[in-house]
């Protein structure tokens, strides 16, 4: 075995650090899905009538899709059929009725988040990040709410938004990802339990990074959260999302929907570090991460930027997209996706150029190790009206080991003669020369591989907020441990 091989092997094998289970009393409804479950979820959350109706429409549509074609089959992933009747669709930590402050949150819950490295109290004081933590299905606590409220920013759990701002929810819910969009989005629309809601009023620049942490705790439960971010004219927000789950043998389903709406001159920056449990070395267990994320640049000169670091999940199926509707609007997608052991990732983006002078940039870095399979799947579509639209796409793949796979499937559809679209992709491995160069300068093989991999991802990491960039870089090292081989 070559040195490269050995080094990569040594790097890839470390255990999942976030695989603990929190023993906490949960309000769990029985597994299974039918109209009554949808009604039950809605009533547990005391939702207004329009929400229930929307959920039911989604559910009926989902049933239709199920009998017609079922789950999407075009992605380059394989998994045994999912029994949607064995999933628990609602699981909430049991707690006293309403929480006045953080102190009232179950201390066990707070400990969980402390283990995850997001001590809410600490962050409150030190980093100035406002956190909305979602535990299984229910949002636990939101920090910094008052401070944000002074600026007119609404940052709360989705359930609270439904109670307190039903008009906003009704106006924007499903406006970017309609409940008919795809199989998993329909399912989410019917049963989503909570998530985050964020509204930035006109002209306001959100003074801190907003953050949500998702965690799946209950066995056999699915997590179906929904995030909606609306940035009014001339506003700006940077939003962070992180995810973990306990180690379990069986697969758990995570089908989330994220909708972003950017009005004129508004900017939304959305960053994700996804580290759901990826399954063990033989590929047992792990999260199925089937997520629909889409932003709409509704207004002129608006901008939506997605940055994602995907190191977890047994299967990732996710295409954060931007609909560039307003003239001069900008869409960006920066992604690092890493697969190891038996992980599968089919991820990429869609940039739909509708308005004139719209621009988009796609930088995707895929790293495959072990028996992992990584697919970049992307669409760049330029409609006839999108004069002078521009896109640049760069997809690079790095292969560590000879049992993994890297795939690139870009779709490019151009119907305007003034548009300019460029796509480039490359695939390579870490060469012996690069390793040798580092080693002769006294850098160990492990460190060299880690350094080269980090260099490979640099273009993406530099778009992450500071704390996230450090975390992502560490995560990459951990996820790769023992894979070198």
């Amino acid at each position: 075995m070559s040195t490269t091989a050995k080094t990569v092997e040594a790097l890839v094998n470390r255990e999942y650090e976030w695989g603990f289970v929190t023993d906490i009393e949960a309000d769990v409804i029985p597994a299974g899905l039918n109209e009554d479950v949808v009604r039950l979820i809605s009533s547990k959350k005391s939702e207004p009538a329009f929400m229930l109706e929307w959920r039911l429409r989604a559910f009926r549509h989902w049933l239709k899709m199920g009998t017609a074609a079922g789950e999407p089959k075009w992605a380059n992933v394989t998994y045994p059929p999912i029994d949607y009747q064995s999933v628990v669709y609602y699981s909430a930590p049991k707690q006293k009725v309403t929480l006045g402050s953080l102190e009232e949150v179950d201390p066990k819950l707070l400990q969980t988040f402390a283990k995850l490295g997001i001590p809410l109290e600490e962050q409150k004081r030190l980093s100035g990040v406002a956190v909305d933590a979602v535990f299984d299905s229910v949002s636990v606590a939101t920090t910094f709410k008052e401070k944000l409220a002074e600026l007119g920013i609404i940052f709360c759990s989705f359930s609270e938004a439904v109670q307190n701002h039903p008009d906003l929810v009704e106006k924007y819910l499903g406006s970017v990802v309609p409940y008919t969009d795809n199989f998993f989005a329909s399912l989410n629309s019917a049963v989503f339990s909570d998530g985050s809601f964020c509204y930035i009023p006109k002209g306001v620049r959100c003074p801190m990074e907003l953050s949500t942490y998702f965690r799946i705790n209950t066995a056999g439960s699915g997590q179906f959260e929904r995030t909606l971010i609306v940035a009014e004219e001339g506003s700006y927000v940077s939003y962070l999302e992180g995810c973990t789950a306990p180690v379990r043998d069986e697969n758990q389903l995570h089908a989330a929907v994220v909708e972003l709406v950017a009005l004129e001159n508004a900017q939304i920056k959305y960053s994700t570090v996804q580290n759901w449990y990826a399954g063990d070395r033989e590929g047992r267990g792990g999260i199925y991460n089937f997520v629909t994320k889409r932003g709409k640049c509704v207004g002129r000169n608006s901008k939506i930027s997605w940055t994602q670091v995907e190191t977890g999940s047994a299967i990732t199926w996710k295409y954060p997209s931007v609909i560039l509707q307003g003239d001069d609007s900008v869409g960006e997608f920066y992604s690092v996706a890493l697969v190891n052991n038996y992980q599968q990732a089919d991820t990429g983006t869609k940039m739909i150029h509708i308005g004139a002078n719209t621009r988009s940039t796609i930088i995707s870095k895929g790293i495959s190790a072990g028996h992992g399979n990584n697919t970049y799947r992307g669409l760049v579509k330029v409609l006839p009206r999108a004069a002078h639209a521009r896109n640049r796409t760069q997809c690079d793949s790095l292969l560590l080991g000879d049992r993994c796979g890297a795939h690139t499937t870009p779709y490019i559809e151009v119907a305007n003669p003034t548009a300019s679209v460029e796509h480039e992709a490359s695939t390579a491995k870490i060469s012996e020369d690069q390793l040798f160069y580092c080693k002769q300068r006294g850098i160990s093989a492990e460190n060299a591989v880690s350094m080269i991999v980090n260099g490979f991802c640099k273009e993406v990491f530099k778009n992450l907020p500071m704390e996230f960039a450090v975390e992502a870089s560490k995560l990459l090292g951990v996820s790769l441990e023992g894979s070198v081989g």
Partner: protein, 449 residues
């Protein structure tokens, strides 16, 4: 059994009729191949846009047209009719097919080295049975080439070209296969079927030209299978210049042996709707292929190029360069798939697709695909869609060229990268003047506007 759609059943009935005459029953090996193929066709039917490989090309107009199977050569086609397609200087060994059937009177032989076989498939079916049994229908059946149209071709296989270059023989005279279509009396279906075999160290140049005599509606469903032995070298050109009311579905399946070299030049300028499938299986170490393509479209033409390169063995090389120029409301599709199988180490694969959009209403859909399962590889692909560089136009104008003249010259330059790679001089010259005429016509249209 699922109910069969009428367009499919039309061909099933035609097959039954052929069976009834007893002509299809012999020889037995061929009958079996045909029979399997019609069963496959009944299952597959015509591809629909629901299939990933046909997402951008709707063959509904083909399905909707009631084509008559062209079963004989139309009588009395004079030699002058094909004069403008004939290749001279150097003279080529020419086989002419009218609506898929060999025409001895229009064909013309040139001296070939001993042992080289260039014949009609109809003849070879009785003289070269061992070779045909080994290869016919065996290669154009895999992923990328094994669609309903191929099954339809195999079911009715009867004529086409057969070329066999024995071991160590080098054929320097180009072999020109001219496929002429004529359908004055209503839509016909021509299904030429070709088999090109070069044994160990054999070398040849084969040009396939598909042309329409008049502005007729017809469908050419052509299938070519290419088998290259160890170290064999084949230069293969395909010129698609069908009538602009015609349909063309062309499938070329190549299997390459150790250290063999396959060079392909695929030019598409004709047809209302044309689809080219080119599948290359690099089956043994050290094989290499270089594919170039050019599509120059106007009006409402639709051309779809699908390439599929299967790196199944280590140390193989593939190069692809496809370029397109689209005017009017034309639409082009490029789908280039490169697969590197597990253990196909030291693969070197490179692919580029570039498109020039000249007018509003033109559309390009391109999808370069990489599927890589080995780690010690060098694979890249790139795709670009754009327009002529304004700086370049300005440069030429500053030197006294008019706006349209400058654009025409730059467009010509864009195309010549592919045209200049054609080594058969008369073919290159023919194409060159055809494309120049296209550009002049487009320029005249723009200047009078």
């Amino acid at each position: 059994m699922t109910p069969v759609a009428p367009p499919v059943s039309r061909y099933l009935a035609a097959f039954e009729a052929l069976e009834g005459t007893g002509a299809a029953a012999s020889p037995a090996w061929l009958h079996r191949i045909r029979h399997d193929a019609i069963t496959r066709f009944a299952e597959q039917g015509f591809p629909t846009v629901r299939l990933e490989d046909w997402k951008y090309t709707n063959v509904a107009p083909i399905v909707a047209t009631a084509f008559q199977l062209a079963d004989t050569v139309p009588a009395g086609l004079p030699a002058q009719a094909i004069e403008r397609f004939v290749v001279r200087d150097p003279v080529a060994h020419r086989l002419v097919f009218v609506n898929g059937h060999y025409s001895a009177t229009l064909s013309s032989a040139a001296p070939l080295p001993g042992g080289v076989r260039v014949a009609s498939l109809a003849e070879a079916l009785s003289t070269d049975t061992a070779l045909l049994d080994r290869h016919l229908g065996r290669h154009a059946a895999s992923e990328g080439t094994g669609h309903g149209f191929t099954a339809l071709s195999t079911a009715f296989v009867h004529d086409g070209a057969f070329v066999h270059v024995p071991a160590g023989v080098r054929v320097t005279t180009p072999i020109h296969l001219l496929f002429v279509a004529t359908a004055p009396a209503g839509p016909v279906l021509a299904q030429p079927r070709n088999l090109l075999v070069a044994d160990r160290g054999g070398e040849a140049t084969v040009v396939e030209s598909y042309v329409g005599l008049a502005d007729d509606t017809y469908l050419t469903n052509a299938v070519t299978e290419v088998v290259l032995g160890e170290g064999a070298i084949l230069q293969h050109y395909k010129i698609e210049d069908e009538s602009e009311r015609a349909f063309h579905v062309g499938t070329t399946a190549v299997v390459q042996g150790r250290d063999s070299t396959f060079t392909s030049g695929s030019i598409a300028v004709g047809g209302a709707l044309a689809r080219n499938n080119l599948g290359v299986l690099l089956a043994a170490p050290g094989a290499s292929c270089a594919l170039t393509g050019l599509y120059v479209l106007h009006g409402r033409q639709h051309v779809d190029n699908h390439t599929f390169i299967d790196h199944a063995a280590p140390r193989c090389t593939s190069r692809q360069l496809y370029k397109g120029v689209l005017d009017g409301r034309a639409r082009a599709v490029f789908n280039g798939r490169v697969t590197v199988r597990r253990d196909a180490q030291h693969t070197d694969a490179h692919q580029t697709n570039k498109n020039l959009l000249l007018s509003e209403g033109a559309e390009v859909d391109t999808k370069p695909q990489l599927e890589i399962l080995a780690d010690d590889v060098k694979c890249t692909h790139g795709a670009a869609v754009g327009q002529l560089g304004e700086d370049a136009v300005f440069y030429l104008r500053s030197r006294g060229l008019g706006e349209e003249a400058a654009r025409t010259l730059l467009t010509y330059g864009f195309m010549s990268e592919v045209i200049n790679r054609i080594t058969v001089e008369p073919i290159r010259a023919q194409l060159d003047s055809l494309l120049m005429a296209r550009l002049r016509e487009a320029r005249a249209a723009k200047e009078t506007r």
